[in-house]
Subunit: 79 residues, 2 copies
């Protein structure tokens, strides 16, 4: 089974990397770019569990290991 976990900075948290990218793009002439925020995506392959178990396992894993829940939100998608 394949799953994806998205980890993003919470909306109030400053994202210097995203800010740098959006400024670079604007200075390169891409004026349409208003903002960029960078996050992480984990493509995970899972074996031997059903969809529900996979989802709850990935939520546990994400909050323990993949995301820093003080400043980041995560989203689990079983594909």
């Amino acid at each position: 089974m394949k799953a994806q976990v998205h980890v993003k900075l919470k909306s109030g948290v400053l994202d210097p990397q995203g800010l740098a990218i959006s400024k670079s793009l604007q200075s390169l002439g891409y004026d349409g770019i208003v903002s960029v925020r960078q996050g992480k995506v984990f493509d995970i392959e899972i074996n031997g569990v059903d969809e529900k178990a996979a989802e709850s396992m990935l939520k546990e894993v994400s909050s323990k290991l993949l995301a820093n829940t003080v400043i980041e939100d995560f989203e689990v998608r079983v594909l």
Copy 2:
């Protein structure tokens, strides 16, 4: 308009970070985890262009700046 760009290592390229995560998870007792590959996701806000123009601009931007197309693939989604 909101868009998302996913940047992932090409399938043949070694992903040491993903490997480290999957080994950590397995050693923590999450045996169901077969593999983890880590990528980047960019949440981009765009103004003043239509959907088609936004998509072609983001493809250009991704191949020029966001992704290293020698080792990475990217995917643009206008939301």
